[in-house]
Amino acid sequence: MQKTWQRLSQQPQLQAPFRVREVVIDTIRGFFKTQDFLEVETPLLVQRPSTETFLDFFGSELRMAEGQRRPGFLTTSPEYAMKKILVAGFPRVFQVCKSFRNGEGRSPKHNPEFTILEWYRTQADYTDIMRDCEELMLELVAAVNEWRGEAVMPDVEPTLQYQGRTYHLNAPWPRLSVAEAFEQFAGIEVEELLDEVALPKRAATKGYQVTDATSWEQAYHQIFLNEVEPALTQFDRPVFLYDYPTSQAALSRRKADDPRFAERFELYLGGIELGNAFSELIDADEQEARLKADLELRRKEQRPPFELDTDFIEALRLGMPPTGGIAVGVDRLVMLLADVPSIKDTLFFPVEDVFDLE
């Protein structure tokens, strides 16, 4: 199989996504800096990574000349560190950096090392982040069009052409709650959705493979991936899927009027998930309890254990203002804006070019 650099040398037209990548990253920086966000850098190598139950980590070890040894992990997201910076007194921060996830399979939308954009706004919640997404996307499309030499038409409705389809980008974008989506696309009412016994049963009657070992989470995702997410590909506009069952939102604030759900949204375009946002959980006790529960679940699933980042809990205890924040997959954004089918087309060295894989 040819390496990307070899294909690029033979087919110069494949260079375009790499130019688009530069335009995208420059535009992201401009977008946040003009709004008085501070660009920050946080460690990619840490002793205590986030507690995400289902994420696999790249692990290494820190060795000091004096003989001390500590476990070291590559971060799956810079979230904890960025929140500590908010507590330190910076009200708006953003970062574009690498993040790492191990144990993932082949997919045109995954690479073990990928570029992530995160931003956090204090005195804000997830609806403010929705507006940021709309504005940022419009600016990105305008910047890429300008780079392509296309005239900017102020009166024309902004669109994105992706893989033969046209997406309409004029804001506000449709918002659909998880409960509404399950009802519309899977015929499941909210009480049944949230019931730990009823949902796996319903999954079984729908024909999914359900055993005694099937958890609520597995049934939820099986239905979500087979019935809800495919329905989202039918939208010709970006969609905010919002208000997730609280168990699916470890770092977000519960809804004041319905604590069964948490203020989390995911942004979808053409069925592709582009970002994951929260009204951040700022209650130190609840955060500590949820992270400990995550670690306990990790232990049950027999995944490698690690320590709780108590420094993060202490930061929350000192006081984090109400905050909205989001993580966005930059490679996927570039893929969409460059109109290529895979993030591998936007990476000079996708994992297949770096590691000998079959």
């Binding site: 996830r101 144990g103 082949r106 997919s107 493979q209 099986q222 991936l225 995911e266």
Partner: protein, 189 residues
Amino acid sequence: MATIKGGNITKGNYILFKGAPWLVTKTEFVSPGKGSAFTRAKLKNARTGASQEFTFKSTETIEELDVSSREMQFLYLDGSDAVFMDPRSYEQVSVPVDLLDGREGFLTPDITVYILFYNEAAIGVRLPASVKLKVTYAEDATAGNRVNAPKKPVTVETGLIVQAPLFIKVGDVISIETDGGQYQSRVNE
């Protein structure tokens, strides 16, 4: 019957799903944010050729089909079927072209392939890793940047279009990978 885990199914597997035989034509890893891992598979019904997508849990147990294979020769395309013959028994079988998944462009008369059977019914074709096809149309190479060895589209005898190096001319025989359709080399005989 052999089983396979949802996380391990790959393109080319034949599986039993909702009581019907299916060919897996594409798989993709999916991780829904804060959840366990899944595999999204594109499936082609091995009887009808109809396609559908399904997302399996990585831990799910899937039955693999007990598929047998026989060496046969390609005879001709007959509307929506490809017709093959067993060179020993002269028995003929038809396979819906839909089940070839676009690979019918690699079939030349008398090419030897493996026909896959499930419960006596022909459900698919296994092609050799590469095939040799004659170029029937190619534009003259333009004076381009030869150091970078760009490619051009050429048409082969079956109507298939392949990206080939600039030096390939009409009448050349070229070797093409059947998985992906990439040009491999010129093999003039």
